[in-house]
Symmetry: C2
Amino acid sequence: MSELSKEVQVVSNILKANDLLSAELRREFKSKKVYVINFMGSPGAGKTSILESLIKELKDNVKMAVIEGDLYTSKDAERIEKQGIPVIQINTCGGCHLDSTMIKQLLDNFPLEGLELLIIENVGNLVCPASYDLGEEIRMVALSVTEGDDKPIKYPAMFQRAKVVVINKIDLIEQTNFSIEQALGDIKTINPGLEAFTLSCRTGQGVPELAQYLLEQIKKKENVNDA
Amino acid sequence: MSELSKEVQVVSNILKANDLLSAELRREFKSKKVYVINFMGSPGAGKTSILESLIKELKDNVKMAVIEGDLYTSKDAERIEKQGIPVIQINTCGGCHLDSTMIKQLLDNFPLEGLELLIIENVGNLVCPASYDLGEEIRMVALSVTEGDDKPIKYPAMFQRAKVVVINKIDLIEQTNFSIEQALGDIKTINPGLEAFTLSCRTGQGVPELAQYLLEQIKKKENVNDA
């Protein structure tokens, strides 16, 4: 058997094992009534800044916590900690994505009781995290205008399985050749059901709208679970 | 044996196989006197734009070609083709990095004779491509100021094995909180030998300096090979 076919076989086994465990996580999140968001995007797309803005908008209305995924540092977790909500760091030691084993191990020391919203910030990477289900309710992708409007079509898997896309750094759009029309056109081709928000963490534009949308989703889910 | 240890073992076999083949590629590039650059960076760091700028500066002085790595599209290769130099596209079909098998297979139909410079633009990803040697002479990393100055410390492997870092989109630095001093300080801690260039593809600032540096490296190498 060649190295390549061994790789393909093992990757397929790994993904299968991940999916079994993520299904278990999903049941656990559901039974504890926690709405879980798997938040992804390129390095530097502004995921942590978006989280900081969202926490300010949401924390008085929703009991929330954050899991921060990063290769080695805890820089992002330190930023979130300053916002006064529970945060826990996962270091992947060079690994390019979070997987459900990492989340499962961590939940043993991270009580979900009473939480309404858990946001998992994944490793900055537009490719690998898309393959690993973490038991989330929805996936949210950050795409900054400085990255270029060709990213959805170049990294389609990331957008295919997402529910929300946040087009970030909109205050810089005049300094780029990013076309919202082009990006949204490609995104809707890849995934017609994707909800799109434009946002600037610097000016605050779009933050209340995204926060409101997430709040409605969480409340809607709580009502379904209560029914 | 757990899924995780199987994964680790197979990944280590894959990397070993990759290194054997990349050593072969390195000998082939050397015997054909081609200077090969493995060019990496996040999605949207501006790799293709930097290439367009470099080609304009270099193509009259150096016989050059480009290999474009991308998941599915040939958008970047089409942009390079317009610059009037040979370009070939590798699609990884969702894969998160180029490896030496892909380069080897492609070289059967891509004659190196007479070439002085071959630039391989890797998949946009600050994690996985760092582990895969392609037989290159040097690695060059693009980091745009809009990504934030914490990226070197958060993704150290990418910077550890590079020879050149290009800090791109320098025309936008006033609109960000990117500190050149911070980024360069971290970069020098990770890799003291790294050559750093600041650059803007929009204004052209820094392009001649980077082109001149690469030209000198290529000529120096040619002289060593001739000696």
